[in-house]
C-alpha cells in the first residue's frame, strides 16, 4: 500500500496539495501515482507567472512506461517551479511528497482547497483502482 500523508489534500487524478505558511500551495503527484508510472525520465513544468484553471493540464511527467499530464488541482497563478527536477526527475520516485514537488501556486480562492479530497477520501480512490 502506498503512502498517503494525512496533512495533505488530493485529487482523483493523483495530485497532492500542501498549504504553505506564506499562503501558497505546493503541488506534486502522489506516491501511488509515481509507483504506477515507474521510473521518471523527464518532467515538463509550467511557466512561472502563468495562470491556470482547475483541471487544466499544466505539467507533464514522463516515465519509462508513459507520459502523463498533471492537472491544476485549483485555479491560481504559478509562483515557483521545482526546476531541480529537470536534472533529477527520479526525485519524484524517491521523495514524491517532499523534494519531488512540482510547482507552487497562489490560489485565486483559498476555499477551493477544502473541496479537494482528504487522505481518507483519496485512499478510497486508490483502493477502487486496485
Amino acid at each position: 500500500m502506498s503512502e498517503i500523508p494525512s496533512e495533505l489534500r488530493y485529487t482523483k487524478s493523483h495530485e497532492w496539495v500542501r498549504s504553505m505558511e506564506d499562503g501558497h500551495l505546493e503541488i506534486g503527484i502522489s506516491d501511488h501515482a509515481q509507483e504506477m508510472l515507474g521510473d521518471m525520465v523527464y518532467v515538463e513544468l509550467p511557466e512561472v507567472g502563468a495562470t491556470v484553471n482547475t483541471g487544466d493540464d499544466c505539467a507533464v511527467v514522463e516515465s519509462v512506461k508513459a507520459a502523463s499530464d498533471v492537472y491544476a488541482p485549483i485555479s491560481g497563478e504559478i509562483v515557483e517551479v521545482n526546476s531541480m527536477l529537470s536534472e533529477a526527475p527520479e526525485t519524484i520516485n524517491s521523495d514524491p511528497y517532499g523534494e519531488g514537488w512540482l510547482f507552487r501556486l497562489q490560489p485565486v480562492d483559498d476555499n477551493e482547497v477544502d473541496e479537494l479530497l482528504d487522505a481518507e477520501g483519496y485512499s478510497e480512490v486508490v483502493e477502487a483502482e486496485n
Binding site: 521510473d39 523527464y42 519509462v64 512506461k65 526527475p89 527520479e90 483502482e129
Partner: protein, 484 residues
C-alpha cells in the same frame, strides 16, 4: 559492436569509392565542410559481415511468433512483394502520363473500391502516408466541414481514454482542445459522462473500435446518436479493422470518417518507420473535403481527380498520391484474399485471440475483462503475481524472449495494472499458439521455483536486460571518436 569500432585509420575500399568523373565540383566554397567526415574505414567484407550479423540478431515475424498487441504483427505474404516488384509498377514515374499509367491507376481505383466495400463509406483517398497522417487528414476534414458551415464554436474533440495515444495528439495538432471520456468497468465508453460532456463546442469524437482494451464497443449506436445530435462528427480510428472486416462496417455504424492502417489490416511491411499508408474513407458530407489526388473513372478511363475537380478539398498531403509501392502491396493482398478471404481474416484473428485467452485462463492467468469476449486481442493482468512474488509483467515479458517468443505489448493500455496486450493475428497456427501458452505457463511455474531466473531475464538474447531508465535519461545517440 559498432562498425566504427572495427574501423582502422588508413584502410580504404577503392571498389566502393566514387569514380573520378562523378565527383561534384560545383559546390560553393562556403558550403564545403572544413573537417573530414567521421566515417568508418572498413573493407567491403567487414561491412557485409557487420550488417549480416546485425540482421541475424533481429527478432522478427519472419523468425518468431510476435504477438504485439495493438500493432498487428501479421505475416506479409511473399506474393504481395513479388507482384509489387513487377517492372511496370517498380519503374513507373509518378509524373508519367495517365494514358500510359492506366494499369496502375486501375489498381488504385480498385483498391479504393475495395476499401469502400469494407468500410461502408462513400469515397476514399489513398493519399495519407501513414496512419498518423490519416488521422490528421480525418480531423482536418472535420474542421473544414464545420468551418464551411460557419460553425466556428466547435473547438473540442472528445477522445475516450481507451483510445490510441495518437488520437489526442491528432486533435491537438489540428488545433482542437481534447476532452477525455472515461471507460466504464466493462470496457465500454461511459455513455452517461459522454452525454454530460457533449455540447455546442463538440467538433467530433474519435473512437477506436474495437478499442485498445480488446473489446467491441457495445454502445456504438448510442454513442453515434449522442454525438450527431449534438452536432459533432464521428471519427473512426480503423486501427483495429482486422477484427471486423466483412462482419460489420463503420459506415453502417453512422461514422463520418475512418482511417485505415494498411500495414496492419492489409499486411503491408511493418515497422522500421515506414513507408506506411493510412487511406481515409468518408461519407457523403465529408466527400468534398477529401485530400487529392484520388482516382476517378469515366467510361473505362482512369484519371486523377485534382484541384479543378475538388475545389473544397483540404489539399495535398505530399507532392503526389501517397506511397505507391505500399498501396500496390495492399491491393494485391486484397485481391489474393477476395471478399470471402477478408472475412476469414477477421474470423481467424478473433478465434486465435479467444483461443489463447481461454487457454491462459485455464492456466490461472487473470484477464482484465474476464466477462467479455475478446476481439482480435486481449489483456492479461499480472497484478497478483507482482503483489505475491514481486515479479512484474516486464520480467515475464523478458523471460518470454528466452523461450523464443516476442513479448506482447507491456504496460499498455495504462488503465490496466501489470498488463500484457496480446494479439496473435490470424496468420499463426494452433501449434504456435500452444507453444506460446506452454511457455507462459512454464514461466509462471518458474516464478514459484526460481523467481530470480524470471526477474533477471533475458538470459539467452544477444543483449541482456537493458537499462531503459538510463537510456532515456542520458540520451546518447551519436558516435564520437573518443580517441581524439
Amino acid at each position: 559492436m559498432l562498425i566504427f569500432e572495427k574501423s582502422l585509420n588508413g584502410r580504404t575500399n577503392p571498389s566502393q569509392a566514387p569514380s573520378e568523373d562523378s565527383v561534384i565540383d560545383d559546390i560553393p566554397q562556403h558550403l564545403l565542410r572544413a573537417d573530414e567526415p567521421q566515417l568508418p574505414s572498413v573493407s567491403e567484407l567487414q561491412a557485409v559481415r557487420h550488417y549480416t550479423r546485425l540482421s541475424q540478431k533481429n527478432f522478427s515475424i519472419d523468425t518468431n511468433f510476435y504477438p504485439l498487441g495493438s500493432c498487428t504483427m501479421k505475416y506479409n505474404p511473399r506474393a504481395c512483394n513479388k507482384y509489387a516488384m513487377l517492372p511496370g509498377f517498380l519503374n513507373r514515374h509518378p509524373y508519367s502520363s495517365e494514358r500510359t499509367g492506366q494499369g496502375f491507376l486501375a489498381c488504385m481505383y480498385e483498391l479504393q473500391q475495395m476499401l469502400l466495400d469494407i468500410t461502408g463509406m462513400r469515397a476514399v483517398s489513398l493519399c495519407p502516408l501513414a496512419g498518423a497522417q490519416g488521422e490528421f487528414t480525418g480531423v482536418a476534414m472535420i474542421k473544414a466541414y464545420h468551418q464551411s458551415r460557419g460553425d466556428a464554436e466547435r473547438s473540442e474533440i472528445l477522445v475516450p481514454d481507451a483510445a490510441h495515444g495518437t488520437n489526442p495528439a491528432t486533435a491537438t495538432m489540428c488545433g482542437f482542445k481534447v476532452k477525455e471520456i472515461p471507460t466504464d468497468e466493462n470496457g465500454d465508453v461511459d455513455v452517461g459522462i459522454l452525454r454530460q460532456v457533449v455540447g455546442p463546442n463538440t467538433a467530433g469524437l474519435m473512437l477506436t473500435n474495437p478499442s485498445t482494451l480488446g473489446v467491441f464497443e457495445r454502445h456504438i449506436l448510442e454513442v453515434e446518436e449522442i454525438v450527431h445530435t449534438a452536432g459533432g462528427l464521428l471519427y473512426y480510428d480503423g486501427a483495429n479493422l482486422n477484427a471486423i472486416m466483412g462482419k460489420v462496417k463503420p459506415g453502417d455504424m453512422g461514422f463520418d470518417v475512418i482511417h485505415m492502417n494498411l500495414h496492419k489490416t492489409f499486411s503491408t511491411p511493418h515497422g522500421g518507420g515506414g513507408p506506411g499508408a493510412g487511406p481515409v474513407g468518408v461519407n457523403e458530407r465529408l466527400r468534398p473535403f477529401l485530400p487529392i489526388p484520388y482516382v476517378i473513372e469515366t467510361s473505362g478511363e482512369y484519371r486523377w481527380a485534382k484541384e479543378d475537380d475538388c475545389p473544397r478539398s483540404i489539399g495535398r498531403l505530399s507532392a503526389n498520391m501517397g506511397n505507391a509501392g505500399v498501396l500496390i502491396r495492399a491491393y494485391i493482398y486484397a485481391r489474393l484474399l477476395g471478399r470471402e478471404g477478408m472475412r476469414r481474416v477477421a474470423e481467424f484473428a478473433t478465434l486465435n485471440a479467444n483461443y489463447m485467452m481461454r487457454k491462459l485462463q485455464e492456466r490461472g492467468v487473470d484477464m482484465a475483462f474476464p466477462g467479455r469476449r475478446a476481439t482480435h486481442e486481449f489483456i492479461v493482468t499480472l497484478k497478483k503475481l507482482k503483489d505475491k512474488q514481486g515479479v512484474s509483467a516486464m520480467d515475464v515479458a523478458k523471460r518470454l524472449l528466452d523461450k523464443g517468443h516476442h513479448a506482447p505489448t507491456v504496460y499498455f493500455p495504462l488503465l490496466v495494472p501489470e498488463c500484457f496486450l496480446i494479439e496473435p493475428t490470424e496468420t499463426e497456427s494452433r501449434q504456435e499458439l500452444d507453444s506460446f501458452i506452454s511457455a507462459f505457463a512454464e514461466i509462471l511455474q518458474e516464478t514459484e521455483t526460481d523467481p530470480d531466473l524470471v526477474r533477471h531475464a533475458p538470459h539467452s538474447t544477444p543483449v541482456r536486460r537493458l537499462d531503459e531508465v538510463r537510456a532515456a535519461r542520458e540520451l546518447d545517440l551519436a558516435w564520437r571518436d573518443e580517441s581524439n
